[in-house]
Symmetry: none
Subunit: 156 residues, 2 copies
């Protein structure tokens, strides 16, 4: 068995709204930076969400996990293979600058409808980047979904 160094990766939690400057730079929330601080690559990997009007974000090690999983499954599941192919083709590794900022590529911003502000949203082992308004809308929608699915579970 290949020796796999399993880096215990801390979770991406909570949500943070930050602002893009004139050059497109935006601070990655410090707690998100901390989540990947023990990794080789000091940065994150972004790609356009397949399902939502937002950007998906991962640590590089998670990307590698995904690659490994695809290697195993690929032969048996051509759909998964296609999906991961798209993902890898679309994925952008973005290194933090000294102050913890990244420059999100144009096409990703466009896909998410982001201009001057963005919310980093924790999703456990991954995160998302949204236009603040779009995010609020999406949140309300999934809250309504849950309400109708499990009326007794939710009040807020």
């Amino acid at each position: 068995m290949p020796k796999t160094k399993t880096v215990k990766m801390s979770l991406f939690l909570s949500s943070y709204e930050n602002r893009l400057d004139t050059k497109g730079r935006i601070s990655v929330p410090s707690s998100f930076r901390a989540s990947v601080s023990s990794e080789r690559f000091a940065g994150v990997v972004l790609y356009r969400s397949f399902t939502n009007k937002c950007i998906e974000g991962l640590s590089m090690s998670r990307m590698e996990q995904l690659a490994a999983a695809t290697d195993k499954m690929g032969v048996f599941d051509s759909e998964l293979d296609d999906l991961s192919a798209m993902l890898f083709a679309d994925a952008r590794p973005l290194a933090f600058d000294v102050t913890g900022r990244i420059v999100i590529p144009e096409d990703l911003l466009k896909h998410a409808g982001i201009t001057d502000k963005a919310v980093f949203v924790g999703r456990g082992n991954s995160f998302q980047i949204w236009n603040p308004e779009e995010f609020k809308k999406a949140q309300e929608k999934s809250l309504n979904n849950l309400r109708s699915a499990r009326p007794n579970l939710i009040i807020g």
Copy 2:
């Protein structure tokens, strides 16, 4: 079988009323701190309760369990996915300071109607934080519910 490191987590028990200072700091009851003292993350994770006017609290390891479960199940259960998404987005990891205090974020305090005092309520593997008055009201209400549901079970 993958080697799963099981962190021994002791239970959150009993209730403690503490006071918030001007900066929003509040001491986490020492017995609650002891419950997570063997964990990597010296702190707790808080989020707005979906069902009550209170704050929910968990250990980080519990949060990680959830993330692992969501990773496995998410694909098959979109409801679970929605729920955990909301949870991760709302969850605040809060580290203890040297004296065992945390700063509860504004929006959580608001959700629970907490201003200057709060009760930490043990719930076994989790806990809640309430405005003292609200908690008393909620207690009486659920006691009445029990009374009407099982009149013979309750003496108090």
